[in-house]
């Protein structure tokens, strides 16, 4: 009796698996993949690097000395427009690093993706950076990425110098520190159509164009914002930043 029962259960189980189980590429929800965002940093047509002069849309020669940008809340969609569950991960994007893990997802295909630029309002106004280790993206940083006075994260810190005299000396400082919940932005929803490779990795290649971040900003007359102090300039930069990402 027992033997017959177990054989029956086994047969049903195998049948169910055969009928509803995974078929390569047709039922991608059965596969787990690791998602990575690979950033390429550009200034217009040139590769971007800190301490390197570039000419902005106003014809000014500028040089970035700092670029720290938070991105978070990666979202992915399948080909039917359905959301794919992703981990809540925060990253601090630094020009010296190009590849960022967005965690594992339960599929081998991503059709669209998007992410937040900055820190979402819930985390921004509830998290205490002192509770994280220093090497955690949300922990304290040097230079600071958390305001001590109006407390919240600095979503993007872009500092550098302008050559105002046109003599090769970049000696006029610009300081663009974008924060405040009102300036949290989402990227566009990018069409990526990426299938996991043999190592179960999905690599999404994104370009960040710094020329677009400062496009339309007259940096000599608008050299500084800490968001609260010149909110309109910070808003313009936050909007520019969210539109400065493109996907290959």
């Amino acid at each position: 009796m027992n033997s017959v029962f177990f054989k029956l259960v086994g047969a049903i189980t195998i049948s169910v698996l055969l009928i509803f189980g995974c078929k390569p590429d047709e039922e991608p929800k059965c596969k787990r993949s690791n998602v990575y965002l690979n950033f390429k940093y550009k200034f217009g047509d040139s590769d971007f690097a800190l301490e390197t002069p570039y000419t902005n849309s106003q014809g000014e020669s500028i040089m970035f000395t700092r670029s720290d940008v938070y991105f978070s809340n990666f979202k992915a969609q399948d080909k039917n427009g359905g959301g794919i569950e992703t981990a809540k991960i925060y990253h601090l994007m630094l020009p010296g690093q190009t590849r960022y893990s967005m965690g594992a997802i339960a599929t081998n295909y991503v059709d669209h993706c998007m992410f937040g630029i900055g820190i979402d309002s819930v985390t921004n106004k509830t998290v205490d950076p002192n509770t994280y280790p220093l090497d955690h993206p949300l922990g304290n940083k040097s230079p600071n990425m958390y305001w001590g006075w109006n407390q919240g994260y600095i979503f993007a810190a872009l500092d550098g110098y302008i050559d105002t005299a046109g003599n090769g000396n970049h000696d006029f400082k610009f300081t663009y520190h974008i924060g405040l919940n009102e300036l949290y932005r989402l990227s566009k929803s990018f069409k990526v159509a990426k299938i996991a490779d043999a190592s179960s990795n999905i690599d999404i290649n994104i370009t960040l164009d710094y020329a677009k971040i400062v496009d339309g900003v007259h940096m000599q007359t608008e050299p500084s914002t800490h968001s609260f102090s010149d909110f309109e300039l910070a808003k313009k930069l936050a909007d520019n930043l969210s539109g400065a990402f493109t996907v290959e």
Binding site: K125, D128, P129, N130, T131, Y132, P133, L134, G139, N140, K141, S142, P143, N144, Y146, G148, W149, N150, Q151, L180, E182, F228, F231
Partner: protein, 331 residues
């Protein structure tokens, strides 16, 4: 204890009926600070934590050039203020505002004169990072203190972990939270309900505080603050926009926290920028209804106090002075 508290509430009720505004005196009086000091779940108050926090609070290693500590601008002898209008930070740099006193912060809902910090543990980042104050930042502070084995040992004892940002912020927070002033003559009155603890001028000063002076409209409760933010017409145009810096709302322009009046006779100079040097001058400001400002609080109006009445008000304000720190007494 319950009977004592019940008796106290009855006295307060009678007191409230006698003076129409007296209901604004809260019944929230922690008779036993150790029992009543609120603390977050991750930072319960212990003696080891207070000791560690007090040591860090007094350590000049927390400033970029090791010249100042938290205690440099918050001197215990003058109610944790520093007697200057605007404090001086590292390299002789001027800060932005007058150093506030640190008493009874455990009961305050948010911190800084504009309310920009939401917890005691977080507010330490303000002065620590500010290039006009300590200019160091938490990352470097951790690196410095973790080299000291005695700090490591104290951190392990207090928090069962090596010294890090959590331990620094929590221990300093723990120490500050225990800076409680509750032994003023005013407290004797609150606890006993017996106004005979006051002399005649102090008693008349209390009446003026609650009535003609209108002080209680903002300075209410046990700590004599409603924890709100008000524009008191100090300037026609404020260089420092105060609360509006935080809310980005012009309706908050020129508003600063209503400070506690605990130990007010020892915390001169006054106002957010230390621009008024004496209590007498503060009362003169209010007596004429403050200066012109488009956003001035409608609670500020001409009071018509006589010189004698102002002296009586000051006599009452002096009864708010405590002589010892109850919270960490003996540590």
């Amino acid at each position: 204890m319950l009977c004592k508290r019940a008796g106290f509430f009855i006295v307060i009720t009678i007191f409230s009926l006698f003076w129409s505004c007296a209901e604004k005196i809260s019944s929230k009086i922690p008779f036993d600070p150790w029992e009543h000091i609120p603390a977050p779940a991750d930072n319960a108050i212990t003696e080891d934590r207070i000791k560690l926090g007090k040591r860090i609070f007094n350590d000049k290693a927390l400033s970029l050039d090791s010249t100042i500590s938290c205690a440099s601008c918050h001197l215990e002898s003058i109610a944790f203020t520093d007697s200057v209008s605007i404090h001086t930070g590292i390299k002789g740099r001027k800060g932005h505002r007058n150093s506030p006193d640190l008493f009874n912060l455990a009961f305050q809902p948010n911190f800084f004169r504009d309310g920009g910090a939401r917890t005691i543990e977080l507010q330490i980042l303000g002065p620590l990072q500010d290039s006009n104050e300590m200019g160091l930042g938490m990352v470097e502070a951790v690196r410095r203190l973790e080299l000291d084995s005695s700090y490591q040992e104290m951190a392990r004892v207090a928090y069962e972990r090596p010294i890090d940002a959590f331990v620094i912020s929590r221990s300093v927070g723990c120490y500050i939270r225990t800076l409680i002033s509750r032994d003023a003559l005013y407290d004797s009155f609150l606890e006993s309900g017996d106004s005979s603890v006051f002399n005649v001028d102090q008693k008349e000063g209390l009446k003026l505080f609650m009535g003609k002076g209108g002080c209680v409209n903002c300075h209410s409760g046990v700590d004599l603050t409603n924890y709100g933010f008000e524009n008191i017409g100090l300037y026609e145009e404020y260089v420092d926009s105060g609360r509006a810096r935080i809310t980005l709302d012009s309706k908050d322009d020129g508003k600063f926290r209503v400070p506690s009046l605990r130990n007010v006779s020892r915390t001169a100079p006054y106002m957010h920028d230390g621009s008024i040097k004496t209590l007498e001058k503060v009362l003169e400001h209010y007596n004429i209804g403050g200066g012109n400002n488009w956003n001035k609080s409608d609670k500020i109006s001409n009071l018509g106090l006589t010189e004698h009445e102002m002296k009586q008000l000051i006599a009452f304000l002096e009864t708010l002075t405590g002589n010892k720190l109850i919270g960490y007494e003996g540590i």
